[in-house]
Subunit: 439 residues, 2 copies
């Protein structure tokens, strides 16, 4: 082992940062054997020096300014774990690259907004920009898409990218709990934030999806053009109805190539119970990749958590340790930044697929015929129909019925038109619930 | 793109080789963009020049001797797709490394037998030895273990590594078919060889497992010290009994660290129907990796097939294209060959786990009491017991009963002792069926 050590600077010592510090210290010998050189922690930056973070930082140089750490002569790799799509994370990562440091980041928001710019700078400087931990925590989905599938043409990538939502949906299904009760539990257990909006409304999933989309299709990152719907609207009735018809509801991020461009969408999705993605329960994440050569790959594992995320960060660091100075391994986004295609958005209304629709209607003669006519007017054909008074479990008043429709493949536009007319017809006792089906 | 092209030589143009040739030709622009340099096919070696392989080899230099191709000045990377653990594959790969060529191989048998030797030569020469396609076809399990999980300490790796067996077990379960009927179908569909021994008796799984074991535990490869049991002994009664008690039978390769060494075993295994590995049906493969930081990762996808396997081979080639000459990316087996620990085998009789036992007994008074006593004598406690006359589906004669026992955790030695005594007692109408449970 004749090589000089690789010197690491970490900005942001929260749960992930502390786990990383402990890995670098506790597994120093293992890492040196596997990487062919020592990896040493040289500098850290965090807000409060006095806080006990469960890791030993006494021998490490402390920086108050992440930009100063990023540009410091004492480090070779800058690890950004501060989060946020603006400064100081953005400024610090740019400073690191401009100072000739490789960068590892777990910051999905930063990449979703500035990923192409940062990839371009890294390339110009011949530096490595790694971000495995930014999507799906400990699951090596970035490495798989960027390195393992190099010769594949990807057609679709989709996944469960937010553990909070999947945890809540799993409990709603398994225990028949309400959304509100699950949220309270998730908050008590630390799976959801006090303000859960970012998770439950799908924005976290959207950030991650934007990164996967770029890698899948060689396109520029576009996090602002994602159709996003969260899970806060889902009721136990929806989950029961799904189960009765052989489906399970998952919050998916889906990116796929269509004739009119790239579809990026995040929404509660009906997946057949036998599908691999339907088996993913609790806080576990999973990503399915469909490509011409490899068919379908599914990767599942922990999407969050200090150690699992730090595992991905340290994998990225080790890849840098194994590379040689000045030699970039692969473009950060799979192809050189200049070769990324402009993002062409496929409009959501052009989306084609099956739909699962649950209607609470007044129990009157002719209601179903009227609904069926509206669907037919839009050229929507139905795969299955369930109409009945709900049993004892029902929460519907006695003068109401539930109708569930599963459509054959149709367009979002047709479904929205039909539902709008059905609402106008005045038969509905509540807003229609509409779920896209993904197979 | 100022770099010189990377020149490839392929020995063995069967299904995988032909798919690879077509990828290199059909996706040349994509690969060049992603790798930063062109990848060109410069030489091939195969037995019969005249055979139509569905790929264009007219512009490529043809070699009759794989060793000559391996050492040829016209190539930078030698791709070995001939198979077999002896010559010419072994000689050709060695010749390539000695001549300073990087090597990509899909040859599990070669690696299981000579992997450490080849890794050592590659290291000495500063060359890359890649073999993603040797285990689980298109699933990037080698890359995940070798690169993504660098900082993890792996405790167990297990998986469905043979598509033929999984296809047969799936059909036996879904359609109630016999082993023999499934085998015939699998042969007709090309999923099983005319002589299926290598697949159905578990040897193919064992070769792949030996490679995963080395990567998981940093130990030398030892394919000869694997406990191997195939699926040819499994009956529809076993599968029905498993289903009734919430289990599914899968042929698993399992490697785990125990106090007395490394356990490597291939056998039909009872897995709870809700376990991720139980969901893998048909020819699909899956690998589960358990490690201290990342918890459990599960990767699933196609374990065979020309294009899926060629996808892995070309991913390996692209990794070489992105590296720079003379710079090895990572040791082939995760740590330098000299740092691999000697393989210390944990004896199979020391294996600890739960067991699923199916006994066909004569319907006589005291039989169950006698069996229960024998289990108790060995200190085996029972989690569940099912004893009954089988219904109309049964194949047992009228004077027989089936007893199914599920044990709590015990040792292989205890189970074997108990079963031996039970057989000696003379109550069994047929040999006991014993399955290990994996959770």
């Amino acid at each position: 082992m004749s090589e000089t050590p690789l010197r690491i600077g970490i900005a942001g010592i929260g749960t992930v940062g502390a786990a990383l510090v402990n890995i670098l210290a506790g597994k120093a010998d293992l890492l040196a054997a596997r990487c062919g050189r020592a990896i040493v922690l040289s500098g850290v930056c965090a807000r409060d020096r006095s806080r006990d973070r469960g890791c030993d930082l006494s021998a490490v140089e402390w920086f108050d300014d992440p930009v100063a750490l990023a540009a410091s002569e004492g480090i070779d790799v800058f690890v950004e774990l501060m989060g946020g799509d603006g400064d100081p994370a953005h400024a610090a990562v740019k400073a690191a690259l401009h100072a000739g440091k490789h960068v590892v980041t777990a910051n999905k928001a930063l990449l979703a907004r500035h990923g192409v710019e940062l990839a371009r700078i890294a390339e110009e400087k011949g530096l490595i920009l790694n971000f495995e931990a930014a999507v799906a925590g400990g699951i090596p989905v970035i490495k798989t898409m960027r390195e393992a599938l190099t010769s594949n043409t990807i057609s679709r990538v989709f996944g469960i990218l937010n553990g909070t939502c999947n945890y809540m949906l799993t409990r709603m299904e398994m225990e028949g709990l309400s959304y509100e009760a699950c949220l309270k539990d998730a908050q008590a257990l630390g799976y959801a934030e006090a303000d859960p909006t970012f998770d439950v409304e799908g924005f976290d999933t959207a950030h991650k999806l934007a990164i996967l989309t770029s890698l899948a299709f060689g396109s520029e990152i576009s996090a602002d053009e994602i159709y996003v719907e969260g899970i806060s609207n889902i009721t136990t009735e929806d989950i029961e109805a799904a189960g009765e018809l052989g489906y399970r509801i998952k919050l998916l991020g889906v990116a796929q190539k269509t004739a009119s461009g790239i579809e990026q969408r995040v929404h509660p999705t009906m997946v057949p119970v036998a599908a691999p993605i339907a088996q993913i329960s609790g806080v576990t994440n999973a990503v399915a990749i469909e490509a011409d050569l490899v068919g379908q790959l599914v990767l599942s594992g922990p999407g969050a958590g200090g150690e699992a995320t730090a595992s991905a960060v340290s994998g990225d660091i080790c890849d840098i340790a194994k590379s040689r100075p000045g030699h970039q391994q692969a473009p950060a986004l799979g192809v050189p930044a200049a070769a990324l295609a402009p993002y062409v958005q496929a409009r959501m209304r052009a989306h084609e697929g099956g739909y699962f629709i649950r209607l609470n209607v007044y129990d009157q003669a002719g209601v179903f015929a009227s609904i069926a006519s509206r669907m037919a007017e839009e050229g929507i054909s139905l795969e299955s129909i369930v109409q009945r008074k709900r049993d004892g479990k029902t929460r519907s008043p006695a003068d109401q019925q539930t109708i569930i429709l599963i459509t054959h493949e149709t367009t979002e536009q047709a479904i929205r038109n039909a539902l709008e007319r059905i609402e106008t017809d005045g038969h509905l006792a509540a807003h229609a619930q509409m779920f896209r089906i993904e197979k």
